[in-house]
Amino acid sequence: MTEYVGKPIPRYDGIGHVTGRTTFVDDIHLPGMLYIKVLLSPVHKGIIRHLDVSAAERMPGVAGVITAKDVPGKNAYGLIPDQPVFTPEHIRYKGERIAAVAAVDEDTAMEALEKIKLEIEEQTPVFDPFEAMQPDAPLVRPEGNVWVFNSGTTRKIRLGDVEEGFKQADYIIEGTYTNSTNDHAPMEPQVSVAYIDETDRLAIHTVSQDLYFHLGMLSAIFNLPMNKIRYIGGTVGGGFGAKNDIHCDHVAGLMALKIRKPVKYRLTRHEEMLYTTKRGPWTFEFKDGVKKDGRIVARKVRTIHDTGAYSGMGPYVVDKNAILVAGPFAIPNIWIDGICVYTNKPPASSMRGFGIINGTSAEQLQMNRIAEAIGMDPWEIRFINAWRDGDIGATQFTVVAAGLIEAMKRAAELAGVELPERLKAMSSRGR
C-alpha cells in the first residue's frame, strides 16, 4: 500500500498558477530595464552585402545595438550547433536574426530597427524537400541539403530481410502520408530577462525546459564558464518542446553583457508563430507485405523530414522516428530509410510527440488501410501483430512490460465493442 503514490494529489503550484501568484519571466520588472527588438531577415535566402547600425545607435532612447560582431564566443548553437545567434552573412530563412536593439521601450526599439541600413542580395530559395534533395537544387547549406548520418545520407534500420518477407506475403499494400508544420503555441510566449548581478555574473531568467542543456550552449556563446552565468528558471508556462531550443536567452544575455543594464526580450505571438522552431513536416512512404491471416511479414518505410534551414533537432528526430515508425508490432523483416533535408524554412525542432506523433499517424492509417485491403477487422490485425514481452523492435531492442493488448481490450470495452473470444484470450505475456 502506498500513501501518496497513485493518489490524485492536486498540483503543488496549481493554485499559484491560476491565481496569478506565480512569477513567470515576463512578470519580472527591474529598475532601468531596457527592451529588446530584433531585426529579422525579410527574405527567405540571401547574402548580407551591407549592414550599418550607426544611425540606430545614435537614436535617443537607444541603449545599444548588437550584431554578429558582438558575440564573444561561438556564434552557433543548437543540439547540432550550426545556427548563428546573429547571422554574419548568409540568410537561410525568413525571420533569421540580423541585429538587436535595446531601448527604453519596445516602440522605440522598433523605431530604431527602421534606422538600420541593410542591403541583402536575394537568392532563390528552395522549400520543397524533394526538390532540395535533387543534385542541382539551390544549396540551403554549404555542405549540402541532406544530413549525413553515420550510415550515410539515410538513417538505415535493417531487421531480417525485407525483400524475402515480401516474397512470403499474400498482399502488398502501399501508402504515402504527409503531415503539416505545427506551432507549439504555449500560453507563455518566448521571453528572457538578463542583467549583471551583484557578483558581476550574468543572470538570466529563462523559460528553458532544459536548464543544463542550454547552459552549456550559452556558456559557449558568451565565452563564460558555467559558474559565471546564473541561469534562473524551473517554472514554465507551457513548453511542448518550443523551449527545448533557445529563442531569447542568447540575445538578452549578449545585450546585457554589452550594455551592462537589465534587459527584457520577448517575442510577439506573430514572431513566435512565424520565426521560431517548429514541428516540421514529414512524408512517409510505406510498403507492407501481409499474410492472409493478418500477420505483417515485411514493412519497408522511407521517411522524409523537412528540417528547415538549420539542424535544430532534425537529424535527432529522424533517428527517434526511425526507432518506432514500424509501430508496436512484431514484424520479422523491417527496412527503414530516414532522410533529413534542409529547406529555406524556420528550423524544425522538438515538439510534443517528437517524431512519434508523425510516425504513429502515418503508420496507424496504414494499418487501417491494410485491414480494409485484406478484409480484416482493424482490431484483429492489431491484436495479431501486437508486441508481446520479449519481442524484438526494429532497432533490435527487447520489448519489456508490454501492454498494448491490455490497453486495446479495455478501450474496446469502454467503446462498447464486443471483441471475439479469441482476441479477448490474448495477453502481452505471450503468444
Binding site: 501518496y4 502520408y177 503539416s180 542543456f213
Partner: protein
C-alpha cells in the same frame, strides 16, 4: 449532409533520449525542524513534475507531503537534469529521487542509531519518525532529528542520480540500438461527424486507454490525456503553418487563422482509462507516457473520416478545404 464514422488506432511511446545516456540528479536535506528540501533539476512546464517528485519523496521517507519543499529554480542550486522532454522526467528523475530518499534514509538511521545507541539495522522509518523496530516507543520524531542533527553539528543530506544506461549510437549497417528506458502503450476509438457541405469535421467521442506502468498521480494523467487530445485533434484537423506546403504562401500569423482546438471544441464524450503493467525499472513501475496522449487520436480521427465519407485523407490536417476537395475528387472519379 452529416455523416458519421468510427476509427481506431493504437500507439507506443518511449521514455527518454534515443539511445539513453540522459541522467538526472536529486538531493534531499533535513531542515532544523525536520521538514525537508527536495532539490531537483527538472523544469515544470506544466506537466506537474514538482508534484509527483514530492509524492515519490514523501512515499519513500514516510513523511507528510506538506513536509517537503521542492526547489528547482536555478543552476546555482538546482541539480543536473538532461531536460524536461521525451516523457523522461517521471521515469528518470523519479528514480533519482528514490535513490536520494533511500540514501537519506540510511543516513538518518545511522544518525538516530548513534543518538539512541542502537544499530541502524534495528530502526524503522514511518509516520514521520524513526524508531526501534522491536520497541516502537523508543525513537525520535523527524522534528527531533532535524534539531539534533543540525544543532549538533551534523548534516543530513541524501543524494541520488539515475541514468537509464550509457548512451548508444546506431550501428551504421543495421541500425541496431537496443537502449529504450520504457515503452508505454495506448489505444483509441474516435467517432466523428463530417458535414459534407462545409467540410467541417466534429469529433463527437474519444475513447482512450493508456498502459503506463503505474499512474503516480492519476489526476495529472487525466490532465495529460485531456491536453494531449486537444493537440491531437487539431493535428488531425486544423493546425497547419503552411497550408499549401511545400509552398510557404498564406502562412497564418495569428490564432484567428492558425486554428487550435479549444475547450469548446472538445468531444462531448471523453472517455478514458489507465491500465498498468509495471515496468521493472520504473519508479513504482511507472513508464513515461505524457507525449503519447497527442499521438493516439489523430489516426483514429482520420480513419473515422474514411468510415464516414469513404475517402482516406493522407495529407493532413483534414481541414474543411481538404475534405471538400477530397469529396469533389471522389465524385468526379
Amino acid at each position: 449532409m452529416k455523416k458519421r464514422g468510427i476509427g481506431i488506432s493504437c500507439n507506443t511511446h518511449p521514455a527518454g533520449l534515443k539511445g539513453g545516456g540522459d541522467p538526472s540528479q536529486a538531493l534531499i536535506r533535513v531542515k532544523l525542524d525536520g521538514t525537508l528540501d527536495l532539490v531537483i533539476g527538472a523544469v515544470d512546464i506544466g506537466q506537474g513534475c514538482k508534484t509527483i517528485l514530492r509524492q515519490i519523496a514523501a512515499e519513500e521517507l514516510s513523511v507528510p507531503l506538506e513536509a517537503i519543499t521542492l526547489s528547482n529554480f536555478d543552476t546555482d542550486i538546482g541539480l543536473m537534469c538532461t531536460g524536461t522532454f521525451a516523457s523522461r522526467v517521471t521515469f528518470i528523475d523519479g528514480n533519482a529521487v528514490i535513490r536520494a530518499a533511500r540514501d537519506l534514509k540510511d543516513k538518518i538511521k545511522r544518525f538516530v542509531g548513534s543518538q539512541l545507541g542502537v544499530e541502524p539495522e534495528q530502526l524503522e522509518m514511518a509516520d514521520n519518525r524513526v524508531f526501534v523496530r522491536d520497541n516502537p516507543e523508543k525513537g525520535m520524531s523527524m522534528a527531533a532529528i532535524g534539531a539534533a542533527a543540525n544543532w549538533g553539528g551534523a548534516i543530513l543530506v541524501g543524494t541520488g542520480a539515475f541514468t537509464p544506461g550509457a548512451g548508444q549510437d546506431f550501428d551504421p549497417e543495421t541500425g541496431k540500438m537496443t537502449a529504450i528506458a520504457s515503452l508505454a502503450f495506448g489505444a483509441c476509438v474516435a467517432e466523428v461527424e463530417v458535414d459534407t457541405e462545409t467540410g467541417v469535421v466534429d469529433v463527437l467521442k474519444l475513447v482512450q486507454v493508456y498502459e503506463i506502468g503505474r499512474a503516480i498521480n492519476p489526476l495529472l494523467c487525466k490532465g495529460q490525456i485531456n491536453g494531449g487530445s486537444m493537440m491531437g485533434i487539431s493535428f488531425a484537423l486544423t493546425e497547419n503553418l503552411f497550408p499549401y506546403y511545400p509552398a510557404v504562401d498564406f502562412a497564418p500569423e495569428t490564432f484567428s487563422d492558425y486554428i487550435l482546438t479549444t475547450a469548446a471544441d472538445m468531444p462531448k464524450e471523453m472517455i478514458y482509462d489507465i491500465v498498468e503493467v509495471p515496468h521493472p525499472n520504473g519508479p513504482y513501475g511507472a513508464k513515461g507516457f505524457s507525449e503519447m496522449t497527442a499521438s493516439a487520436a489523430p489516426p483514429a480521427i482520420l480513419s473515422a473520416i474514411h468510415d464516414a465519407i469513404g475517402v482516406w485523407i493522407t495529407d493532413y490536417p483534414a481541414t474543411p478545404e481538404v475534405i471538400l476537395r477530397a469529396l469533389e475528387a471522389k465524385s468526379t472519379s
